[in-house]
């Protein structure tokens, strides 16, 4: 077999160098294809964790808060309720603000001194009214009678303590 022509050898060398260069570039600078980005995986995990805080959950909570706000007491509404529901002979004492951070709660003591079993109906009515009052919680009810058979018809203590929640700076804007 004769020796190849110079032009053929040059073409072969050129093609060889071209091919080596092309393959070299492929090996040296491979196209980066990130299969599992840690940042992406972290974001996906965070989204799963935060999934419970959906827009629906926010709407439901906002609805509850709106419902609460609608029934919060004002000074005027409380005065009206008190005038309507507190019979004569009862003493209402403001015990001060409840220990709350986000709501304005006022603790009230409702006392009926010198009461007997004849006043039981109004005592029961008031306790029922307090328990049914919106945005109010009866935290304590204490009834005691005086000792002895004769004393059993006289209440030595008739005390209800309730917290009334009032309008104020109470949470996120509606």
């Amino acid at each position: 077999m004769n020796a190849p022509k110079k032009a053929s050898v040059v073409a072969l060398v050129f093609s060889g160098v071209f091919c080596a260069g092309a393959l070299g570039v492929r090996v040296a600078f491979p196209p980066l294809r990130v299969a599992g980005s840690p940042e992406l995986a972290g974001l996906r995990a965070e989204q799963v964790q935060l999934g419970v805080f959906s827009d629906g959950a926010v709407r439901a909570a906002d609805a509850k808060l709106a419902s609460l706000r609608r029934v919060l007491w004002t000074d005027a509404s409380f005065a009206s309720w008190r005038e309507t529901n507190i019979p004569a002979g009862w003493s209402v004492q403001n015990l001060g603000a409840a220990d709350l951070q986000h709501l304005h709660g006022r603790r009230y003591a409702f006392l009926r001194p010198d009461s007997t079993d004849r006043e039981w109906p109004e005592i029961a009515t008031l306790l029922g009214d307090l328990e049914r009052a919106p945005a109010a919680s009866v935290t304590s009810a204490a009834i005691a009678v005086q000792p002895g058979y004769a004393g059993s018809r006289h209440f030595s203590q008739c005390l209800f303590i309730a917290v009334f929640y009032f309008v104020g700076d109470d949470g996120p804007a509606p």
Binding site: A22, R33, Q47, E131, V138, A141, G171
Partner: protein, 416 residues
């Protein structure tokens, strides 16, 4: 020298006989007489280069050629080489240029006219033309073409032919028995000597043979001494017009086509393979780059979406936390206190009196006195205890007295 017309089809037939070179052409052939001194190969190549044809078939004779008639088997070039190599050692060398007329059958068997080129002149011609971008596809013996040209091509008839150039001549004859002979003459007196040989040749034919003349000389020759008039006188152009009768793959070609697997072709093939491999590598690399970029863009888009969603959900979380903090503080105790007291009054028999009741948000305490049934396992207290404990609004703490040991008792429990 006249220029060859573009109308001449490839390959271009050229006659090269001693110092006479004639290239077929229209309307007239191009001719050249090579100088006696100087490199005849380079001069020939320069002549061919001026013909504007890239493929050449050469019809050739040179005094350097050895030629003889010999028995020869029919078959391929390889078969003939193998058969004749024992008698002609030069044929064993694959670089030796040789050619054989088509093998014919006569009384002696199958014979041919064999030509062997001792010096590698034709290979040098081909290489020199190759350097000029011209392919010398085939080199045929001059007389091989004669055998293909009518009327000399009529194998069943005796033939005698006279060919001449300015300083060269040849006499060829084929007897009725099929024997072939050829004599070549060179030099200034070549034609005169050839004519004398022609006269002698005629004398061996009992019947008139077909007489053909090929005139490649610049001047006509006097054939008055010949007893028979030629059946046909060819000019060089007419003679070369039959060049298509011989093909490059025939055994009469001194320079048969190279194998497909030459080093040059292998080089080209390897270069092509490497080139296309590189091109494919680049193409797939670019495609992979685009894919990777698309993948990264998709991931960036997904990350942006996730970040946006996460920001929204984090805002939701903050809002929910703030809302729930408010709602959690708005605790309303279970409204069971009135029901508790009423249930207590209903459950209490006359033998039991209650001294005090204290109800807190989650606990309760009752203090009372049993006026009867102390120490009994079944009495008013047990009845009261059983009745009062039937409620889903409160529970009595475990361990509360089920059997009274004293008249005064205390019950407590929880409000769930």
């Amino acid at each position: 020298m006249s220029k060859i017309s573009e109308a001449v089809p490839d390959p271009l037939p050229i006659l090269w006989w001693n110092n006479t070179v004639i290239a077929a052409g229209s309307p007239e052939p191009a001719t050249m007489t090579l100088a006696q001194d100087g490199d005849s190969v380079l001069a020939f190549c320069a002549f061919v280069e001026g013909l504007s044809s890239k493929r050449v078939h050469l019809f050739y004779y040179s005094p350097d050629l050895e030629h003889l008639t010999t028995t020869c088997p029919k078959g391929s070039r390889q078969t003939i080489r193998k058969a004749l190599s024992p008698r002609f050692s030069a044929l064993a060398d694959p670089t030796t240029a040789w050619a054989a007329h088509r093998v014919r059958t006569n009384a002696a068997g199958t014979t041919t006219l064999l030509y062997i080129e001792p010096a590698a002149r034709l290979a040098r011609v081909r290489a020199a033309l190759d350097d000029r971008g011209i392919v010398l596809e085939a080199v045929f013996p001059l007389l091989a073409l004669l055998e293909e040209v009518p009327p000399a091509s009529q194998l069943d008839k005796p033939v005698i032919a006279f060919l001449h150039a300015d300083e060269a001549a040849a006499v060829y004859w084929r007897t009725p028995e099929g024997d072939r002979h050829a004599l070549f003459f060179d030099g200034p007196t070549a034609r005169e000597r050839a004519v004398r040989e022609l006269v002698t040749a005629f004398s061996i034919f009992r019947a008139a043979p077909i007489f053909t003349v090929v005139s490649a000389g610049s001047a006509p020759i006097d054939l008055e001494a010949i007893p028979q008039k030629p059946a046909k006188i060819f000019s060089a152009g007419e003679f070369l017009a039959h060049a298509g009768a011989l093909q490059a793959r025939e055994v009469s070609n001194f320079l048969p086509p190279e194998s497909l697997f030459t080093s040059d072709r292998l080089c080209h093939a390897a270069a092509l393979v490497l080139f296309f491999t590189a091109t494919a590598a680049i193409g797939t690399y670019i495609a992979a780059l685009h894919t990777a970029e698309a993948n990264l863009a998709f991931q960036r888009t997904e990350a942006a979406t996730l970040e946006s969603d996460a920001a929204r959900l984090r805002a939701n979380k903050a809002r929910l936390n703030a809302t729930e903090a408010v709602l959690d503080e708005a605790v309303v105790a279970t409204p069971v206190k009135l029901r508790f007291i009423e249930a207590l009054n209903r459950a209490r028999p006359a033998q039991i009196s209650i001294r005090s009741v204290v109800l807190n948000e989650a606990t309760w305490t009752i203090a009372g006195t049993a006026h009867e049934g102390v120490g009994l396992e079944k009495g008013p207290y047990q009845s009261f205890f059983a009745n009062f404990s039937k409620s889903d609004g409160w529970t009595i703490s475990p361990g509360s007295e089920a059997v009274l040991r004293n008249a005064d008792f205390t019950l407590n429990g929880t409000i769930p």
